[in-house]
Symmetry: C3
Subunit: 398 residues, 3 copies
Amino acid sequence: MDTIKISEMIKSLATLDYEGMYQTDFLLTWEKTVDEVMATFLVADILRGLRERNVTSRIFDSGLGISIFRDQSTRTRFSFASACNLLGLAVQDFDEGKSQVAHGETVRETANMVSFMADVIGIRDDMYIGKGNAYMRQVSAAVQAGYHEGVLEQRPTLVNLQCDIDHPTQSMADMLHLISHFGGADQLAGKRLAMTWAYSPSYGKPLSVPQGVIGLMTRFGMDVVLAHPEGYDVMPEVAAVAESNASDSGGRFTTTHDMAEAFEGADIVYPKSWAPFAAMEKRTDLFDEGDLDGIAALEKQLLAQNADHQDWTCSEALMTATHEGKGLYLHCLPADISGVSCEAGEVAAVVFDRYRVPLYKQASYKPYIIAAMILLSKLRHPADTLAALLEVGRRRMG
Amino acid sequence: MDTIKISEMIKSLATLDYEGMYQTDFLLTWEKTVDEVMATFLVADILRGLRERNVTSRIFDSGLGISIFRDQSTRTRFSFASACNLLGLAVQDFDEGKSQVAHGETVRETANMVSFMADVIGIRDDMYIGKGNAYMRQVSAAVQAGYHEGVLEQRPTLVNLQCDIDHPTQSMADMLHLISHFGGADQLAGKRLAMTWAYSPSYGKPLSVPQGVIGLMTRFGMDVVLAHPEGYDVMPEVAAVAESNASDSGGRFTTTHDMAEAFEGADIVYPKSWAPFAAMEKRTDLFDEGDLDGIAALEKQLLAQNADHQDWTCSEALMTATHEGKGLYLHCLPADISGVSCEAGEVAAVVFDRYRVPLYKQASYKPYIIAAMILLSKLRHPADTLAALLEVGRRRMG
Amino acid sequence: MDTIKISEMIKSLATLDYEGMYQTDFLLTWEKTVDEVMATFLVADILRGLRERNVTSRIFDSGLGISIFRDQSTRTRFSFASACNLLGLAVQDFDEGKSQVAHGETVRETANMVSFMADVIGIRDDMYIGKGNAYMRQVSAAVQAGYHEGVLEQRPTLVNLQCDIDHPTQSMADMLHLISHFGGADQLAGKRLAMTWAYSPSYGKPLSVPQGVIGLMTRFGMDVVLAHPEGYDVMPEVAAVAESNASDSGGRFTTTHDMAEAFEGADIVYPKSWAPFAAMEKRTDLFDEGDLDGIAALEKQLLAQNADHQDWTCSEALMTATHEGKGLYLHCLPADISGVSCEAGEVAAVVFDRYRVPLYKQASYKPYIIAAMILLSKLRHPADTLAALLEVGRRRMG
């Protein structure tokens, strides 16, 4: 990317209204305005352009990014660490297993205790319906209060790295991939995107990916269809958001129980396993009751239910039915690839292999998206700062 | 804090005699002169002032802070990481579980092997009487020798992050909180501070907090009373230090077995559980003998003994008896709060809740205290360097 | 080291032909030319000189060094972290235990997913014959492809932190120690080095140390003798490399089953336990077959076999037979010291103690060697960049 192109993007950024992002969290994409979402894409692209040109984008001389992961993660952990590093923040992992949290301290207390030098907090908490996003809001309120009361010298902003409701860093990276692939956000209106369930031999994959996708992609005039077997509904609140978005943006949001119907003529397909919302809600109740036998029984039942839908798989035949046979295949990775990572799974090996490079590119946007979310929440005048970085042109390496 | 105020503090710093801190460790507060202790408070305040004004205090362009934690910790781990980050050091955790230390290598060898690029080493080792501080001195001697012999290019200095004898980063942060609360170190003479035992359902909390408090607070002319049930004595050597300090500073150090007596008219109260010194010494002996049954039996006996003193709790009634009913409540956190984190514990929920903000502020001084300890041990001319940082005024963020 | 000396080394560097190192991995020393090996030593010395003079050698303003350790490690972990820090990179550990790798994703995918901001990847994988180096080449091919395809903005280069074949960061650090001890690489021709097996009560120590030593030290005209009991052969491919090297460099490579013969007149001795290559190959096969009982039986057999050779120990008597009784004792540490870390082991305590300082110095070169490997693979014009660092002279600390 040349300097003129980067400079133009910075000028475009300056025309958007995104002041509301300053000192605020990024928890759900639908809490952000279209301008704010677009500003995030622009900043992500600008940061990538600077890096390509070996120009530093360190806006922090020192400072901490705190990561709180409530289950195992490689990719998200590395994406967050990469984003923090790009901006000059050091990462400090808050591993609850290593902590004294179990001794009965409150979220409010812990949130303040780890935040004395925290500029940003990234949280992934997607295990139980009704818990993850709520926990993030508790942490946010706690550090807001701490800042207000003079306990904290700065207000750390939060980035939702995946919760029970949304997965904004994923859906935004997916979207930036689409923008790049189709040559601009203005090229997306009318494009058909099939967010479909697909069979996996594993159990309980989070709902946040399909929910994030229908909650975001419906804002750009796209024709979004959500497909899944009966009983695999997503959270009704998020489906309602998608409907409302589609209506506002001049797009469409429909649902079907027929995978082939969804793929028919699709420009983009996103076949991916998830657990039924109702079952996940039941699991949360069982968890709250401490009913481990009940959880085990539910798991068994869900695996059996999944097995009834092994025909929901992204086959070559289905891909042929997409728009000109060239629909863009998306996945958040890692995928369950039939004959590779499992006997039968979400996608045929031949399909996955053909889309490997675009899939990796899709993933490559995530660190820049996270960095953009952080940057927009921390800087008072992002466009000015970015313009200065470009002009000074200090080298990142060498 | 405005620039003039920071500048004045730097000028005050320059009048103190603290050259002895250069290239030396911070292991026990009573090994430091009053000037050295005061210099640490001043530097902590200056660093906080710089951060408030978004001025960088990076004195390291690169370098490592090594943390060695021999038991689990969140707050201290984050405080050390925050302090290192504030000064420009990257943290590298030395986790003995992940290491080859068990293969029979010596402290001397390990200390050198992890220190080739180490500027500072923070150690927390508070589990066994007679062990933690001794271990720190072994590490210190090892890196001093390594530096002398040309193995190490720099002499990493040590910060005691809690040992069996003292908890200097805690007591110094507590003290800076008092200085800030009462409007200056010169306002503390004659103030009554009650360091009292309090009931907790858990077992074996370290003695280093009460010992650190009586070992430091007695140096400023305060009227320090140590209260605990019979049998919960602290280390006699530290009690002797407190007595000697009080005599030198024109203050007072007394002990009592009556919690109410200690609270009577107190300006500051610090009710906190700890284990009896004699029992902890016995536990160390059992540990050395590998007598796990003996340790389990001792634990059972101590929990029963604790349970006899459930009336030692920081109730609202006791708080009413403090000076004008407004004594300042301190705790190192996390506290055992009755009805919140346990059935009956160190403090009533109503008391804890009322002091939540000051408690969090108390904790917030710790990263700055640690950073000040590091800075004073690494810089040859701290006042000059700080003055230059203020004058140049390079932004930490943005 | 004074500025003039550093400046001279930079000028020497400029005369060498090492352009081939740019954007390439450091996997085996014998894949590098003599000029490239010498450039690595020079850069390591220059970096050490800069640090001694408190001059920064940060060539990265931001960026990540990824570490992948497939077994436990302290020293190598710290050496890699130190090297990265010296150059300005933050370290991100890729802990496979914490990751989703087990879910069936490929090396190709993972390598790309962790590398979006990776400048360098350090890998230690020495557990199974035929696996470690092969894994590194898989990772290398994956990131090379990712860079080529536009997935990665930079091509992370790999550093072999120990594999089944070679341990280049160890052997290069050992060699730099020899260069420093004997006053220059040109002083080494004709020197006799005894790389000998020694008894250890533990089992299955990697072959990469002796293999790395004979594969490197034979390139400088030295008289290298490899000694071990019958059956403890190293990989035949590496022995062939050593022979060929010796022939090219005008040195000598011989083998013997007599420890005393190897020590006789030796200028340098390196007594160290390792497992027989054939047994390690068998172990790999058993591992591939999932035959845990077979592995346990093999371990028992190897320990019994080891015990037949307890006389292979670096005694004072053997040391007396070295050149003028003053042969330089080397070890990669930690050593099995008789009467200290085990009943009977690789070396007598009296010998180890006498060589403690040189042993620690030997180890101290490793972070600089790793940093040199990174620097030479990342900079297009290393000599120019180093000259600029020296001239600008920005302080690392203070």
